[in-house]
């Protein structure tokens, strides 16, 4: 999506260690006008899928998920992160490996809000190795819900996460797919 790519080129910073800093518009400060366009694009892409709920993960997925849900007229459910396991009679829980923090955390959602009849669109700001997405898909499947696909703002397409999920049959739509990035040479898109 042109507006997202332009925003990344204008405001993203490539740092050493394969870091793309997008805290000026995506995961600390949020450019709501661009993210509202992203929400409309996700709606265009998944409009025919009978989406009943948007699933995301705290914290930086919540804004874009709400702006997307507004287009669909459905609720947002955000999974919570915790150090220890939250699995209980009341919660679905899944483990997620964090590449950034070199650790593992739990994601969980209340069983009350995910149901077998749900058609879930997963929304998140970032996709690299895909671990968070796999955790969210796991939660949906524990409830017997259908995952219609994943809508991602920025995918590091040179990492394996997105294509691994696509090869496993998950529909993944990313608005900006980064082919290469380098502190000196800059960013190119697929």
């Amino acid at each position: 999506m042109k507006e997202v790519e332009e925003k990344i080129l204008a405001c993203g910073k490539v740092l050493p260690g394969d870091v793309l800093k997008v805290d000026s518009f995506l995961n600390h400060q949020i450019d709501v006008s661009v993210m509202a366009l992203a929400g409309r694009e996700f709606h265009r892409l998944f409009a025919d899928e009978g989406v009943t709920k948007i699933l995301t993960i705290e914290a930086s997925g919540i804004g874009i998920a709400c702006l997307t849900a507004e287009q669909f007229g459905v609720p947002v459910l955000f999974a919570k992160k915790s150090r220890g396991t939250n699995a209980s009679a009341d919660f679905y829980a899944a483990k997620v490996a964090s590449y950034t923090h070199n650790t593992t955390y739990d994601v969980s959602v209340s069983k009350e809000f995910l149901n077998a009849g749900d058609r879930i669109l997963i929304i998140d700001d970032f996709l690299a190795l895909g671990n968070a997405l796999r955790g969210l898909i796991d939660l949906a499947h524990q409830a017997g819900a259908t995952v219609v696909g994943c809508g991602i703002v920025v995918e590091k397409a040179y990492q394996c996460g997105g294509d691994d999920l696509r090869n496993a049959g998950v529909r993944v739509e990313s608005l900006a797919k980064i082919a290469t990035m380098d502190p000196d040479a800059g960013i190119t898109f697929c």
Copy 2:
């Protein structure tokens, strides 16, 4: 605001220990249609204040902040919570006492995104003792920014937080102000 009060009466659960459970529409699952109405109401209330940025705190403030920011056409900045201090050359930080968790945490924002010229509207889902709001106001003042006011979805008006802030000269607008709540007798509004 009628729609928020009706939602609380229909879906909120009063639990022993002074707990109002609103995870079905506010802080786990988010009813985006009601929160979009809330965002429009915050815009109506603060439309003449020259707001340049919405400040909130992760995680459950982010959704309502984004739906409000959409009305104003300004960015959202969400403060991050951490256990240890995040104060550094790059961040403003403030300490917040948590009544719920009986502990203290730090909130911080990048100095890059708060400026002396900013006119800040603070948005949050809940107000009880007001500690989180005081932390956010502190961050804005460290940057030399002006806080035009606070927009809150649910205020426990029988606790002191809201009126303490009002008495200190802060404009606090709450869409639902709970006068009394009890597991048996239910909820009344101011």
